[in-house]
C-alpha cells in the first residue's frame, strides 16, 4: 500500500500554495470537496482542475481527461477557453525556456482545441439525472480510460429544493458518496465535489448564525478532503480543514484571467499593476507572476 500511495499521482494546479496545502495537488482515488460562499471561485477551481489534469506528463502532469458535471449552469466555454489558452502558454513558456525536447513535443497535443476536446461535459437538471449519471459513469470511464478527474459542480444545488423528505435526501447523498468513492478508487481518478454554504442558526445562546457547508453534518463524512474557500480582507483564502494526511493550514490564492494562481508578495515598488482580472486580456505581455494591487 505504501508503494501504491507513493506512486499515487496528483493533479497539480498552477498555484503552488494550493499544491503545498494539499500535499502535491488534488490527489487521485480520493474525494476532495471545495465549499465556499457564492462568488469565491468554486466553479473557477473546478474548471482550472479540468484543465490541469490534462497537463502532459513531460511537465509533471497526468496527461489525462476530465468529466465535468454541471448542475448549476455556471459553466461557460468562453471562460474555459481563456484558462486553457493561459495554461498552454504557461507550459510553452516553460518548454522554450528549458529547451526540453520532450516538452516541446508534448506541446503539439496541448493546444486549446485539444484541451477543450478532452473535457467531457454533462449538464444535469435535477437529482434524478445526477443519481442516474453517477450510476453509469463507471461504464463511461471504462470507455474513456484516460479520464482522471470527475468534477461535480455543484453537488448541493439539486438537493436543496424540492425535498420534503430529508431522510430520502440523506439516503440519496450517501448512495452518491459511495458511488463516487468506488469510482475514484477503481478508476484511479480524483473526484472533486463543489459544495455551497448554508446559514445555520447558532445554539450558543447568542442566536448568531454562521455559514457552514451545505447538505448537513452527515455529508461531512463523504469526502476525504475538505477545503473551505473564503474571503478575508479583500483576498481569497483556501483552508484545508479535513485531511487524513496533511495538517490544517490556510493559504491565499487569487483568480486571474489565466485562472487560479498564487498571490505574490508585493514589492515595495510603486507599481500598481494589478494581478486581478481587472487588467484585461494582454496575457502575453505580463509575466506569469503578476503582482497584486497595493492598496
Amino acid at each position: 500500500m505504501l508503494q501504491e500511495e507513493r506512486e499515487q499521482g496528483c493533479i497539480i494546479t498552477f498555484c503552488s500554495a494550493l499544491d503545498e496545502l494539499l500535499g502535491g495537488g488534488v490527489p487521485l482515488t480520493k474525494i476532495t470537496e471545495f465549499c465556499g460562499a457564492p462568488g469565491v471561485g468554486k466553479t473557477q477551481m473546478g474548471m482550472q482542475l479540468a484543465i490541469d489534469v490534462q497537463i502532459p506528463s513531460a511537465f509533471g502532469g497526468l496527461g489525462g481527461e476530465a468529466v465535468y458535471i454541471d448542475t448549476e449552469g455556471s459553466f461557460m466555454v468562453q471562460r474555459l477557453e481563456d484558462m486553457a489558452k493561459a495554461a498552454m502558454e504557461h507550459c510553452r513558456h516553460i518548454a522554450t525556456v528549458e529547451n526540453n525536447r520532450e516538452q516541446l513535443e508534448a506541446m503539439a497535443n496541448f493546444t486549446v482545441e485539444h484541451i477543450l476536446s478532452r473535457i467531457h461535459f454533462y449538464r444535469v437538471h435535477d437529482w434524478v439525472e445526477l443519481v442516474a449519471l453517477v450510476n453509469i459513469l463507471p461504464e463511461f470511464l471504462q470507455q474513456h480510460p484516460k479520464v482522471r478527474l470527475v468534477v461535480i459542480d455543484s453537488i448541493a444545488f439539486p438537493f436543496r429544493h424540492d425535498f420534503e423528505d430529508l431522510s430520502l435526501r440523506t439516503r440519496l447523498l450517501n448512495g452518491l458518496a459511495q458511488n463516487c468513492i468506488r469510482l475514484a478508487d477503481s478508476h484511479k481518478a480524483a473526484v472533486v465535489l463543489v459544495n455551497q454554504m448554508t446559514t445555520k442558526m447558532g445554539h450558543s445562546g447568542d442566536g448568531q448564525a454562521h455559514l457552514v457547508p451545505a447538505l448537513g453534518e452527515s455529508w461531512g463524512h463523504a469526502s476525504t478532503i475538505r477545503v473551505l474557500l473564503f474571503w478575508e480582507a479583500g483576498c481569497r483564502y483556501a483552508r484545508l480543514y479535513k485531511s487524513p494526511s496533511r495538517e490544517e493550514a490556510t493559504v491565499p490564492y487569487q483568480v486571474t484571467v489565466a485562472g487560479i494562481r498564487d498571490v505574490c508578495i508585493p514589492n515595495n515598488m510603486q507599481d500598481l499593476s494589478t494581478a486581478t482580472k481587472e487588467e484585461g486580456d494582454s496575457l502575453g505581455e505580463h509575466s506569469q507572476r503578476k503582482r497584486p494591487r497595493v492598496s
Partner: protein, 386 residues
C-alpha cells in the same frame, strides 16, 4: 425524463406490470429513489436482475455528454448570439459581450437606483434586430411591483436608437413584442413561471425579465416566524431552478432584479461568522439608514439565493446624480464597476476623469460588498456610506 415510465425502457412487460400494480414503481424516479436492498425486497428478483433494472433506468435518465470543444463550436455555428449586448461599452467588455444567454443574471440595488430602468432598456435592446446588436425577438416582462411603464419604454427606445424608431410603425412593433405580466403574489408568480415555457416557444421570446423576485417573497414571508425562512428558501430555490431551466433550454438570457437588506456584522473573526440579522421588515429599501450598529447593506434574499444566480450586478448610489454598477459575481468577468446616470435614453455610462476616482475598487466577497443607499433626498447630500 425522470418521470419516464418503466414501460418504455424495454423491460419485460409482465415485470413492469407487476412492479406498477403491486409495488407502485412506475417511473424511473421511483426506481432510482430506492436503495438496492429495498429494491431486492420489493421486486423479489435476484441481485443482478435488480442491478440491470437500475442501470437501464439510469441510462435512460442520464444526460448525454458533449465535449467542451463541441460546445464552443456549437456556439459559433448556431445563429443565436451567446450574449445580449447592454449597449454600455465598458460593461459589455467586462462581461465578454454582455448579459450571457442561457443563465440567470441578477441586478440588485436600493430602490430608485435604476434596476427597472435597466430592465426597460434591455427590453428595448432585445427587440432590436440582430444586426443592430439585439436579439431580434420578443420579451416577457414579469412585473411584481407594477413598475413597468410603456411610456418609458417608448421614450427609451426613441432616445437610444432614434434612427430605428422613427416611425409609428416601429413603435408599434416594439410595444407589441414586449409581453408584460403582472404577478402581485407568490402564487401568481409561481403559476406564471410554470406555464411560461409554452409561451416562450410560441411567441419566440428571446429575453425574460422578472422584476422583482424579492418584493413578493418579502411581502408574504415573515422571517421572524419559525418555519417561514425555510419555506421561503425552498420557494426561491424552486424558482431559481425553473428560471435556469428556461434560460438553458431556450438559450436565452434571464434577468432578475433583487432588493437589498441590512446585515449586522458584530464579529469579524473569521469566515464562518457571518451574522444574519434577518430583513428589517418587508420593503426594506432606501429609507433605511445603513449605518446602524456597524451594519451594512447587501443584496437581499439570503445566501442560498446568492448561490442560485449565475451573474450578479449590483447598482448603488454615488451621489444624487451618479450611480454605479458593479459586476459582483460572474463566472466569466472580473470584478469591475462603472459609473452611470439615468437619462431619457436610459442608462448612460460616464467616463469622465473626475468620475474615475469612484471606480477604484478592490474585489471582495460579493456577499459583503457594502451598498450605498440614499437617505435624504435633495438637501445637499446625505449619502450614508456604511
Amino acid at each position: 425524463m425522470s418521470l419516464r415510465k418503466l414501460r418504455r425502457l424495454g423491460l419485460e412487460p409482465e415485470l413492469v406490470d407487476r412492479l406498477e400494480r403491486h409495488k407502485k414503481l412506475s417511473s424511473c424516479q421511483d426506481i432510482l429513489e430506492k436503495i438496492h436492498l429495498e429494491l431486492l425486497h420489493l421486486t423479489n428478483l435476484t441481485h443482478s436482475d435488480v442491478q440491470k433494472i437500475v442501470m437501464t433506468a439510469s441510462r435512460a435518465c442520464a444526460p448525454t455528454p458533449t465535449t467542451a470543444l463541441q460546445m464552443r463550436q456549437a456556439g459559433f455555428s448556431s445563429g443565436s448570439t451567446p450574449f445580449l449586448s447592454t449597449s454600455l461599452p465598458g460593461l459589455d467588455q467586462a462581461l465578454h459581450g454582455g448579459i450571457p444567454a442561457g443563465s440567470v443574471t441578477e441586478i440588485a440595488g436600493p430602490a430608485g437606483c435604476g434596476k427597472t430602468q435597466f430592465c426597460i432598456m434591455l427590453s428595448v435592446l432585445a427587440t432590436l434586430p440582430c444586426e443592430m446588436g439585439g436579439l431580434g425577438g420578443a420579451v416577457v416582462y414579469i412585473d411584481t411591483e407594477s413598475a413597468f411603464s410603456a411610456e418609458r419604454l417608448v421614450e427609451v427606445a426613441q432616445g437610444r436608437c432614434p434612427q430605428h424608431f422613427c416611425s409609428d410603425d416601429a413603435f408599434y412593433k416594439l410595444t407589441s413584442q414586449v409581453y408584460v405580466h403582472k404577478t402581485p403574489t407568490c402564487t401568481d408568480l409561481w403559476n406564471r413561471l410554470q406555464c411560461l415555457e409554452e409561451e416562450l416557444i410560441e411567441k419566440r421570446v428571446r429575453l425574460v425579465i422578472l422584476d422583482s423576485v424579492a418584493s413578493v417573497v418579502r411581502k408574504e414571508f415573515d422571517n421572524s416566524l419559525r418555519g417561514n425562512l425555510s419555506q421561503r428558501v425552498k420557494l426561491l430555490s424552486k424558482e431559481a431552478a425553473l428560471l435556469k431551466y428556461l434560460a438553458e433550454s431556450l438559450n436565452i438570457p434571464v434577468v432578475v432584479t433583487n432588493q437589498i437588506t441590512t446585515r449586522f456584522n458584530t464579529s469579524r473573526e473569521g469566515p464562518h461568522h457571518d451574522v444574519l440579522s434577518g430583513d428589517l421588515g418587508a420593503g426594506n429599501s432606501a429609507g433605511a439608514s445603513a449605518a446602524v450598529d456597524g451594519g451594512y447593506v447587501t443584496a437581499a434574499l439570503g445566501n442560498t439565493w446568492s448561490h442560485s444566480v449565475n451573474t450578479r450586478l449590483i447598482v448603488q448610489y454615488l451621489d444624487d446624480k451618479y450611480r454605479e454598477v458593479m459586476v459582483a459575481k460572474s463566472p466569466i468577468a472580473p470584478f469591475s464597476s462603472f459609473v452611470y446616470t439615468i437619462q431619457s435614453s436610459g442608462i448612460v455610462l460616464q467616463d469622465d476623469e473626475t468620475i474615475r476616482k469612484w471606480s477604484e475598487r478592490v474585489a471582495t466577497d460579493p456577499g459583503l460588498i457594502p451598498i450605498k443607499v440614499r437617505t435624504m433626498l435633495g438637501q445637499g447630500g446625505g449619502l450614508v456610506v456604511p
